[in-house]
């Protein structure tokens, strides 16, 4: 401890007036930076998030390599079929976990530290999470796309890759909104993890990730045909088989046929709806 310092403390900081946008940017970047420092020092989530889908890709690819012919439309290899499912699942899982850091901050009081600060907009806290999780899930998905290519399960081409990223982006945005909503609605991280656990795998199995609709009993086909994951999987699968633009039918759902573009529009509508639904909750909690 030292003796008195002349500039110890006197008046509130006389910071030069800065624009609202500049301040929001400063807050958001600082908060995002914190999440990335955490990731750098504890990369296990990143690694596990790539490792798990990779193992799935290897195991399921091998398991169904000798599936009876006619199981898949067009007779494509199972690895190639499943690749699209795993890519979507990777992004989906990462986004579903987006709310966890926020939940920990809520639970352990760090959020209060943020709320005592004169943030220009408390949405910065949400922006930071969205920015972080989008980047993280994109990195993980790209790693899986690369791994799938190396395993000989196909490559969508560079133009195709951009549309893949767009599709994943829509799904990630929707699921991140849902996850952040859960992070503020549920009482603690145990409940949050339980919710993630319950939602994660069933949604994968009730989609067209593992098998085509034609292979499913009709009730499951109905479920899979309204599952958001399916609307991301099918356009990506089409892109992998070289279909661009996405104006052809990619999904023969029980309720009708959907083109690739229709699937993307549905994802967009879903993202928008979830965002609008969750926003009042976030506004109230961050008031």
């Amino acid at each position: 401890m030292t003796s008195a310092s002349p500039s110890l403390n006197t008046l509130p900081a006389d910071t030069p007036p800065s624009s609202a946008l500049g301040e929001i940017l400063q807050e958001t970047l600082a908060l995002t930076g914190r999440l990335f420092v955490q990731l750098r020092r504890r990369p296990s989530t990143l690694i596990a998030g790539v490792l798990q889908p990779l193992i799935w890709l290897l195991l399921f690819g091998a398991l169904f390599a000798n599936a009876p012919s006619g199981f898949l439309p067009g007779g494509e290899s199972y690895g190639r079929f499943f690749g699209a499912g795993v890519i979507v699942f990777t992004a989906f899982s990462a986004a579903l976990n987006a709310g966890l850091p926020v939940m920990f901050d809520r639970e352990f009081g760090f959020l209060n530290r943020l709320l005592v600060a004169p943030l220009r907009s408390r949405s910065s806290i949400v922006f930071a999470s969205v920015l972080y999780i989008s980047s993280l899930s994109l990195i993980q998905s790209l790693a899986i796309i690369g791994a799938a290519a190396l395993l000989g399960y196909g490559w969508p081409g560079f133009a195709g890759l951009l549309v893949v990223v767009l599709t994943l982006g829509l799904l990630v945005f929707a699921v991140t909104a849902l996850s952040l909503g859960l992070a503020f609605a549920l009482p603690g991280h145990i409940e949050m993890i339980a919710a993630i656990f319950v939602v994660n795998l069933p949604l994968l199995f009730a989609s067209t990730a593992l098998a085509p609709l034609s292979f499913m009993p009709s009730w499951l086909a109905w479920l899979a045909a309204v599952n958001p994951l399916t609307f991301a999987i099918e356009p990506i699968r089409a892109l992998y088989s070289g279909q661009l633009p996405l104006s052809e039918v990619v999904l023969q759902a029980p309720y009708g046929s959907l083109t690739g573009y229709a699937c993307l529009w549905i994802l967009f509508a879903l993202a928008l709806t979830l965002f609008l639904l969750v926003r009042p909750l976030l506004d109230r909690k961050l008031q």
Binding site: M1, S5, T10, T15, L29, R34, G109, F184, L286
Partner: protein, 341 residues
Amino acid sequence: MIELHHLRKGFAGGRKAPPVQALDDFSLNVPRACLYGLLGPNGSGKTTALRILCTLLAPDSGVVRVAGCDALADPRGVRRLLGYVAQEVAIDKILTGRELLRLQGNLYHLSGAQIEERLAELISLLAMEDWIDRRCGTYSGGMRRRLDLAAGLLHRPAVLVLDEPTVGLDIESRNAIWQVLRLLRDDGVTILLSSHYLEEVDALADRLAIVEAGRVIAEGSPASLKQSLGGDRVTLRVREFSDGVEAERVRELLGDCQGVRQVVVNRAQGYSLNLVVEDEGVVAGIRETLAREALPVFALALSRPSLDDVYLQATGRTLMDAELAVVGQRDPKLERKRQMR
């Protein structure tokens, strides 16, 4: 500088806990550049009042103003003026102390240069050089508290609010924090701190308020509050281990002495006697009376009224008794839930 007027705040009950009226017409006025202490037992409403002041909690009714700025109408304005050091230090264990302070600086919109300049000052002021670049998860309680104090001071707030700043700290860390708080006060910072340590408030505060059951029941400088009680205190033991019968006999005997206002037998301290006397001259009379009855004197101590006496006078019980009364009644889980957003 800080004005809290007629604050009320209630919390709904839990499955096992009844609803609580945490603040019940709580009013407080803290002058500029004053080190002000809120003294009260756990659960008396101190933390709730501070959380409302820091805009973390909205009162059910009442007015909150800091330097004329209305906290309910312009919470952001108040947040700019305040530095808040919470009771339970929430830090990010993975960040280093320096990274945490930089984050804090950005949340207060300081420029990069301002942050670095301020960091250097505070690291030196709070002697954090040796460990500021280590991860916060490795810090001791005293280090965390100093880091949190630095975070609260980073933006040079006009008002510093501290909730139980030295709970559970070693004496060295406590003295270090006290020293910084005095320096800040001398520099013109208004400081409001809550404590349930009498000696802390007595040693530090220019003024204090005693809080009981959600309201302020006494207010003033420590000296004036003690003076207003009047009289001196005598603690007497005729033997090292006396018994109830003898203590009662001495009580009756001394009760008739001139200048003795009150005699109480303190069973908890081996049947010692606590006397309120008019002045120190009365002690000679007490000794004489005891000698006349051939009673020995094992120990006799004269003291001025303490803050505990002030507390006793205001609430009818000692602070220690008040603390003991709430032990086991509080539900930490429910309280944490109330603090969660």
